[in-house]
Amino acid sequence: MSTLNALITLVVFPGGLAILLTGMIYEWVDRKLVARLQNRMGPRWYQPLADTVKLLAKEEVLPNGVHAQMFYALPVIALAGALTATLYVPVFGLRPAYSFNGDLIVTVYLLSVLTLCMGLAGANTLNRYALIGATRTLTQLFSYEAPFLLALLGPALVAGSWQIGEIADYAERHWLILTQPVGFLVAIIGLMGKLELPPFDAPEAETEIVAGALTEYSGRGLALFRLGKGVELVIGLTLVAAFYLGGVANPLLFFAKTLLLLAGMAAMQTLLTRLRIDQTVGLWWRYGALLVLAQYLAVIVWQGVMA
């Protein structure tokens, strides 16, 4: 019986199909909102699904000069990493499927697997654009990763636990967006950097470097990477909503909260223009990381005073 349960958790809910579909829904909401903000009609509701099925049904070209096994394996590893991370987060505002002390760190690093795989995928081809894209992807990874992690560790600090479930429980009683607004901002902007949304889309700037690290990917590989991105979007929004916006609640309310975050992200995407990669790095290390550290200090001092 427990095997069956585990299988369902992994394949159907919340690990596999459910999260893929949710990722597509979020992607559609994001695209539709951006379109409406640009005064367009925007895509139809089944657009991401059609894109994915089409890509899966297309030919996958193996370019000259790549390491074939790696070329085929990287998208699978990327998606697997993202899907594994879903098991530890409270998706849809439900209890995480699995939980242990320190799973916050594991989840954040599982999310980075996707970016890492994209970097490797770009470096694996002979295409120069893909190579530049890979360099930018990895540079960006080093710039937003630390502030993003720090922003997620802020709630962990006040909750006194590194277990996502316990932090979410604590957050249910305290709306951390009120006590740690800087952390919230850095987390949400870090999420945009992670997903390479504008203004942090220098790694896949189609006006400069074709399509970045994934230039040579077609068909199945591209579809898997895109699905991975969708999953990452869901997990990121879930984490931020659970930590800063009042923890896990009933699924409907939780969904509304994540949609609110998504709307904010869509507005920022439309408003801001693309940053150069050096500007991105500068922004994160000069302001993002320092601000979060300052907030850390404030939290620690406050805790010391209260104790």
Binding site: G42, A50, A57, E59, A211, L214, Y217
Partner: protein, 173 residues
């Protein structure tokens, strides 16, 4: 056996549905005067918004399904055009936009021109006009999608692979 057949049919239908609803395009100018290119870009702007049909402009030919070509094929652009076409994964479609892309148009007979796109690539849809209005381009795309729905196969598949094109030898002087 029966079950297998229906299963296959359903899969085929799903594939066609996805293809019709998500044509990603790449745009290539093989020697146009830029008039047609501006119209294509206008088609992608919020006013006409091709994302309604799921059409997205892609940077990489590896991600694209539809090659939107403008202009006559110049001798210099010929190899690049063919290379871009060959970089696209199957199934792929070609839309020729503008009178020049159809026949050479205003440039017909020039020493450096091979003629329309169909001299080099198998074309699926022709959109006439000099330059065609965005509405005409949208109409062309929608025609292609409707044909696809009706079970149309890409021109490349019907005519075998690329037709070898003899470059007409004319005296350049």
């Amino acid at each position: 056996m029966e079950f297998n057949k229906t299963w296959q049919d359903m899969l085929e239908q799903l594939k066609t549905w996805a293809r019709v609803n998500s044509p990603w395009a790449i745009h290539f100018n093989s020697g146009s005067c830029n008039g047609c290119d501006i119209e294509i870009l206008a088609t992608l702007t919020p006013r006409y918004d091709m994302e309604r049909f799921g059409l997205k402009l892609q940077g990489s030919p590896r991600h694209a399904d539809v090659l939107i070509c403008t202009g006559p094929v110049t001798r210099q652009a010929r190899d690049r055009l063919i290379r871009i076409y060959e970089q696209m994964p199957d199934p792929k479609f070609v839309i020729a936009v503008g009178s020049c892309a159809l026949s050479g148009g205003a440039f017909q007979g020039c020493y450096n021109i091979l003629g329309g796109i169909d001299q080099v690539l198998p074309v699926d849809v022709y959109v006439p006009g000099c330059p065609p209005r965005p509405e005409a381009i949208i109409d062309g795309v929608v025609k292609l999608l409707e044909q696809l729905k009706a079970g149309y196969q890409p021109a490349a598949r019907r005519s075998g692979v690329l037709r070898p094109v003899p470059v007409p030898v004319t005296d350049a002087g």
